[in-house]
Structure formats: structure tokens, C-alpha cells
């Protein structure tokens, strides 16, 4: 794998849809049933990195901090915190926070959980800036970071940094009956079918007490079936409504569709180490050539917005990029770059939505005389291919917490060369502003 850092530019500003559209139907207040498109992977919060497992972990466990409904980071089990120096943090947790087995949460559990998280292959990247965690007293831990790390509190709200009871995690149960301290307690996981949780009557935060007595996550892989289950009242909430069904759900007076721009973006990457994308003019030309509004319309049925920058408009640091849809300028730039119009550009993609995006991009490129061929991959092969260094132009996506660091460091730091962005590009100024 090449580790060379190239001083060149490019990101094809992208499309971002990321409309999360939860839909709610009339409910039995005792039980709320939520449709999940895929089964969870694990009940161990340090052993999953998929969004559906996180949904369950976020309800069963607490963390030091959490996101409120405005997507701001606020204390969860933390009573107070101090930063004695740029690299040192002291966190004191609330007294009387009980795990579901009745035992009290202490700083030993916090240290154990953070250390466990740092050793987990799936989530260790979350606390990669942490140097050490030490117990100060029964309720206080001291965390030392490797560098002064301003967005640290955001990372502590991640599901992978959930606080688990040391006694349970070290037991032989192997996460079949997880014990947390969250507003819901685990009841049952029927593989491929459902996950059942019940209200934790002893939840420490009386104001944040669960409203429904039980919560059922129902696995419904097919998008149309999810919408129908909502319409028949078999489920109360669909978290990711298919964009084809939004209109129908909106027209149904029994349903309420909630739409909010998310922090997820879809981007088109170009490998700055590989011709013809090693030429900045080619990358700029491609950026001008793509009609991003058309992409949103075709690939997302209009339920999305154009991402004019790699930092989504929903978070701090967003600034509109310079690239408008201008095929003439694109053509001129390609001519300046002495682009070979006879060559066939391989456009890589994986998944249905990205296939649709690729088709629009292919049509746009064809308008400026560029012959592009779409190559579809199965997801596993795609991850490997986009991390191989042989990629040219390809479609991927990324999500962020409210701090832009979670977008910039993984995609633009030295460590990002190769994975996960795959475009093999970093500018010195970007390198300076990221942590690694």
C-alpha cells in the first residue's frame, strides 16, 4: 500500500442525501415496535460498528456523554468534569447510577469499559487519541490523551464507549443477556426476527425515564414490506423509509413523516495518485461536469440535498464549495489538461443508491465527451478494492458526529491514506489541522 502523500487536490463535491425519515404510526403506548432493515450484529457495545446494533446499545447502556435531540453533546452519567491540562480530563460520574442487576456504577466500570473499547478491533478508533485511563476515586476517572484533543467529549457519546459492568463483561454469559444501566433492559433477541427490550424502572434519570413499557425492534429487510407493516399498524416506527415510499406515507393521515438532513454524505472519490486524476484540472473538470441536483432527484427521488462541501451543512465548519454545474467549463479544463477523450473511465460503485448516482454521473460525463463505464461491486469486494490503491473514480460515503473532526481526521489525516477515503490525497494545510 502506498503511503506517499500527494500535494494535489480533489474531492468531487458530492451529493448528500441523508434524509433520515422516521415515520410514526398510531401506537399502543405500552409497546413501541420499530422496524429495522437489518438484524443487529451483537449485543456487546464494543463488538459492533453498524448503525442498527448501535440503536439497541444506545438504549441499553449509558455513556459519559450523550447527544440531545438537538444533536448537542450533553452529560449522560457524568456529574462534573474538569480539564486540568490540555491533555488531561477528570470525569466524575453521578452517584447512584444502577446497572440492571442492581449494582452501582463506579469509576472502575468506566475505566474497564474505556480500556475494553480501546482494545476492541471494531471500535478502538473511537478512543484512538486516549493515552491512558486511571481510577482517581470511586466515582472519578482521569483520562490522558496523546495530544490536546478538543472534540474529545463528542467521542465519549459514541455507542462504542458505552459503560458496561465489569463483573458482567468478565462473566461467562458472552453477551447473551447484556446488562447495562440504560432506560431499557434487554429481554430477548430472536435472531433474524426481533429484539425485545423492557423499561428499566430503576433508571437513574427520572426525567429521561422510558415512556413505553416495552420496545420491540422488528427486522424487516424489504423496504416495501417495512412501509406496509407501518400502514397495517404492525410496526409503529420505520427508521429509514425508502425514498420511493415517502410520498405515500406523507399522504396517509395516520402516519407522520419526520425529515431532517443528516450528517451523512455520499462522495465521489478520485485517486490523486493515478492518471488521469493525478491532474488537478481533470478533477476540477469532473466536478464541474456533474449535475448534483439531478443526482439528488434521480437517486434519492429528491429527498436529499446537494453536499457542496465534504463537511455537511448540518455541522460546524461547513462552507459551500466552488463547484457549480458547468459542462462548458469542464470541457475547457479537460482540453487544458490534454485529457485523452478516447480512454474509458471505470466508475466504481456498490449498492443500489450508488448505482443510480453512478448512472447520472456517467450520463453527465458523456455530455462532455468522457466515456465512463460503471463497474459494480459486492460490498466486501468494494471495501477491499477502494483500499487497494488501484481505484480510479469511485463512490463512497461517510457520516459525522456534530464535530467536523470526525469527518476531517478519518478522511484527510495521514492515517487516512488508503482507508477509508481511498482518494490518496492530503494537502499539508489539511494535514496540520487534523490530528495525525
Amino acid at each position: 500500500m502506498k503511503r506517499k502523500i500527494l500535494h494535489a487536490a480533489l474531492i468531487l463535491a458530492v451529493i448528500a442525501m441523508a434524509m433520515v425519515a422516521p415515520v410514526f404510526a398510531g401506537t399502543d403506548p405500552a409497546t413501541i415496535t420499530v422496524a429495522l432493515p437489518s438484524d443487529i450484529v451483537s449485543l456487546d457495545p464494543m463488538d459492533h460498528n453498524d448503525i442498527y446494533s448501535e440503536k439497541v446499545s444506545l438504549l441499553v447502556f449509558n455513556r459519559l456523554f450523550k447527544f440531545d435531540t438537538s444533536f448537542k453533546v450533553v452529560p449522560d452519567v457524568v456529574a462534573s468534569w474538569k480539564q486540568p491540562s490540555a491533555k488531561e480530563w477528570l470525569f466524575t460520574i453521578k452517584k447512584g447510577v444502577k446497572f440492571h442487576d442492581g449494582s452501582e456504577m463506579t469509576s472502575a466500570d468506566v475505566k474497564f469499559s474505556m480500556d475494553r473499547s480501546r482494545e476492541s478491533a471494531k471500535v478502538k478508533h473511537v478512543l484512538s487519541e486516549v493515552e491512558s485511563v486511571a481510577v482517581v476515586d470511586k466515582y472519578t476517572v482521569k483520562v490522558t490523551t496523546k495530544v490536546a484533543f478538543a472534540p474529545f467529549l463528542f467521542t465519549l457519546a459514541h455507542a462504542g464507549v458505552s459503560i458496561v459492568p465489569q463483573k458482567y463483561a468478565s462473566s461467562a454469559d458472552k453477551w447473551k443477556n447484556p446488562i447495562g444501566s440504560g432506560p431499557y433492559q434487554f429481554v430477548q433477541w430472536v435472531s433474524g426476527d426481533k429484539i425485545v427490550l423492557k423499561k428499566n424502572p430503576n433508571y437513574y434519570d427520572k426525567a429521561g425515564m422510558a415512556q413505553a413499557s416495552s420496545l420491540v425492534f422488528k427486522v424487516i429487510p424489504e423496504a416495501t414490506s417495512r412501509t406496509i407493516a407501518l400502514e397495517t399498524g404492525e410496526v409503529d416506527v420505520v427508521l429509514s423509509l425508502d425514498s420511493n415510499d415517502v410520498k405515500r406515507a406523507t399522504a396517509d393521515s395516520r402516519l407522520k413523516v419526520y425529515q431532517k438532513p443528516s450528517t451523512d454524505i455520499q462522495y465521489i472519490g478520485m485517486n490523486a495518485e493515478k492518471a488521469p486524476f493525478d491532474n488537478i484540472k481533470v478533477r476540477q473538470a469532473f466536478n464541474y461536469a456533474i449535475d448534483k441536483d439531478a443526482v439528488v432527484l434521480v437517486a434519492l427521488n429528491g429527498y436529499g440535498e446537494v453536499a457542496s462541501s465534504i463537511i455537511p451543512s448540518t455541522i460546524f465548519g461547513h462552507k459551500d464549495g466552488p463547484y457549480s454545474y458547468d459542462p462548458k467549463k469542464a470541457q475547457a479544463l479537460l482540453k487544458e489538461a490534454k485529457f485523452d477523450f478516447k480512454q474509458v473511465i471505470k466508475l466504481w460503485a456498490s449498492g443500489d443508491t450508488r448505482k443510480k448516482i453512478a448512472e447520472v454521473v456517467q450520463a453527465n460525463l458523456s455530455e462532455i465527451g468522457v466515456n465512463a463505464e460503471i463497474e459494480m461491486f459486492e460490498w466486501g469486494a468494494y471495501l477491499q478494492a477502494t483500499n487497494s490503491g488501484t481505484q480510479g473514480i469511485f463512490l463512497l460515503g461517510w457520516g459525522s458526529n456534530p464535530d467536523p473532526d470526525s469527518m476531517l481526521t478519518p478522511l484527510f489525516s495521514k492515517g487516512s491514506i488508503g482507508a477509508p477515503a481511498g482518494w490518496n490525497w492530503i494537502r499539508p494545510s489539511a494535514r496540520r489541522s487534523t490530528m495525525t
Binding site: 478491533a121 424487516i220 424489504e222 460490498w379 471495501l383 461517510w398
Partner: protein, 297 residues
């Protein structure tokens, strides 16, 4: 016979999964994985070893009854399959029941009334049944019976009623082959001398058909039923997906997508064993239907 089949099937599947593009460690760690963490996980999972060594270790564990641990969920494969297989078995049983109840009467009546309107309609129905994509029929049934009429749940396996629509979807698909086999077999049988003799003895037409003709015509039909049932035991991915049915078909396809080799192999082994057992049972059933077969052993 089962052992060589299992050996061949597991080796083939093991090789195919290993040779297809994509790395399981990269998939487990996701898009943010660095080369170092992927390499670390590969070593931890034993994926660095030669393919034949990995397969040898798998077989060694298998003969001790250990099907391994799922790469994706870290759950024992046996546990996961045991939780899904009863659903698949139930669905297969009801589907084949639906199929038998529809196709055998169609096959018999079509043969008895050859070239009649019923015969033509019956065969057209069978043709439509096999031609309709199961996901399409499934969705239509959901729209009619769940959404519009509210008679049955649209998915899941929580209630007994949940099985009606998926069983109907799969059952209709198997109708064609069973009905056509029954028809052609019946056509052959009703022209036999002993049927004419039975009629000459003054037996009623219904009695001749049901007692003398059908029983003798059932052997080929039973073979087709066995094959269809065996296939159903391998899971029906599309139907299971449309109806959110937690069966082994969905588990196998999801595992293939995740390159979860131990889980895929576990599903394949269960499928192979189930198919072989069904075939054995069908062979045994022959002897009850036709005593002549029993007498040859």
C-alpha cells in the same frame, strides 16, 4: 453416501468463498479500517494460513461436532442454525401442504378430464404459478390480505397466522411441477388394463380413480414432492425477505454477503443433510405406496 457429499460440498463452498473477491476482516472492521488493523484481525482469525490448512482445521472441528463461530456475530454456528431451522422446516411443511392440496386435485381431474376446459385452466394455473416471481406474488398477497383486508400479518413469525401468506406464496410456485407430474402419471395409469378391469367389475369411477389409479400414479408425484420439499428446506430467500421470515435461506444469503464462511458452511451442511434425509424418507414412503417395491428388498 452422505459423507462424501458433505466432504465435497464443504470443500467446494469453502474454496469458492475464499476465492471470491473481498476480505472478511475488512468487512468486519468496516470502511474506516486501516491496513494495520485489518492485518491484525486476519492473523487473529487465522485467515493468514493456507486455505487447505484452514479447511483441515474446520473439518477437524466439524467431526467433533463443532461448526465453529460466526465471523460476523461471534455466535456459535450451531446455535444460530438451530434457532432458524425450525422456522424453515415449518414454512417448508406448510408450503408443500398448500402445494399438495392444490396440485394433486388439479393433476387428477386434468388427467381424468383430459383436454377439457378444466384441464386447460388447471394447466394454465400451474404455469402461472411457476412463472410468477415469488417476491411479486408475495407483495401482491400482502397488499390484498394484509393491507386491504387485514386478515393476516404482513410479516414475521410471531403468530400462527403469519405462516399463511408465505406458505401460499411458496406453495403456488411448487404447484406446477407437482400438478403436471400427477397429470401425466395419472394419464398413463388410467389406460392400464387393471383400471379397465376395475371398471368392468362395476366399481364406481371415483373409487377406481382414488383407490386404484391415484395410488399407483403417486410414485413419480412423490418424487417431485420430495425434491420440492428438499429445496424448500434450503430456504427461500426471496419469500423469507418479503415476509421477514427468520429462516435459514435469509441467514445463508446474509452470511454469503458478509463472507461469513463458518455460517455459510453450517447452512450448506444442514441443507445437504436435510435434502438427503428427505430423499431417504421418500424412498421409504415408496414401499408403503407400492408394496412391489418393498418385496424387492
Amino acid at each position: 453416501m452422505l459423507l462424501p457429499v458433505l466432504l465435497g460440498v464443504t470443500f467446494l463452498v469453502f474454496s469458492i468463498i475464499s476465492l471470491t473477491p473481498g476480505d472478511v476482516a475488512t468487512m468486519i472492521l468496516g470502511q474506516g479500517a486501516t491496513q494495520e488493523s485489518v492485518a491484525e484481525l486476519r492473523t487473529e482469525m487465522g485467515l493468514d494460513e493456507p486455505l487447505i490448512v484452514q479447511y483441515g482445521k474446520y473439518l477437524g472441528n466439524l467431526v467433533r461436532g463443532d461448526m465453529g463461530i460466526s465471523y460476523a456475530t461471534k455466535k456459535p454456528v450451531v446455535e444460530e442454525i438451530l434457532s432458524r431451522f425450525p422456522n424453515t422446516l415449518t414454512l417448508a411443511f406448510f408450503s408443500i401442504l398448500v402445494s399438495i392440496l392444490i396440485s394433486i386435485p388439479i393433476g387428477v381431474i386434468s388427467a381424468v378430464k383430459q383436454y377439457s376446459s378444466f384441464d386447460n385452466l388447471g394447466m394454465i394455473f400451474a404455469l402461472i404459478g411457476i412463472s410468477m416471481p415469488s417476491f411479486w406474488l408475495g407483495l401482491i398477497l400482502i397488499i390484498v390480505f394484509s393491507l386491504t383486508l387485514g386478515w393476516f400479518p404482513s410479516g414475521g413469525a410471531d403468530q400462527l397466522r403469519s405462516i399463511v401468506l408465505p406458505a401460499l406464496t411458496l406453495g403456488v410456485a411448487s404447484t406446477a411441477s407437482i400438478a403436471r407430474t400427477t397429470r401425466s402419471s395419472m394419464l398413463e395409469v388410467i389406460r392400464q388394463d387393471y383400471i379397465r378391469t376395475a371398471k368392468a367389475k362395476g366399481l364406481g369411477n371415483t373409487m377406481v380413480i382414488l383407490k386404484h389409479a391415484l395410488r399407483n400414479a403417486l410414485i413419480p408425484t412423490l418424487t417431485v414432492i420430495g425434491l420440492e420439499f428438499g429445496e424448500l428446506l434450503g430456504g427461500a430467500i426471496l419469500t423469507e425477505t418479503v415476509f421477514s421470515w427468520p429462516g435459514i435461506g435469509r441467514l445463508m444469503v446474509e452470511s454469503i454477503q458478509r463472507k461469513d464462511t463458518p455460517m455459510v458452511l453450517g447452512c450448506i451442511i444442514v441443507f445437504s443433510v436435510a435434502f438427503s434425509v428427505v430423499n431417504l424418507l421418500i424412498d421409504i414412503l415408496y414401499t408403503f405406496i407400492d408394496p412391489r417395491i418393498k418385496s424387492t428388498y
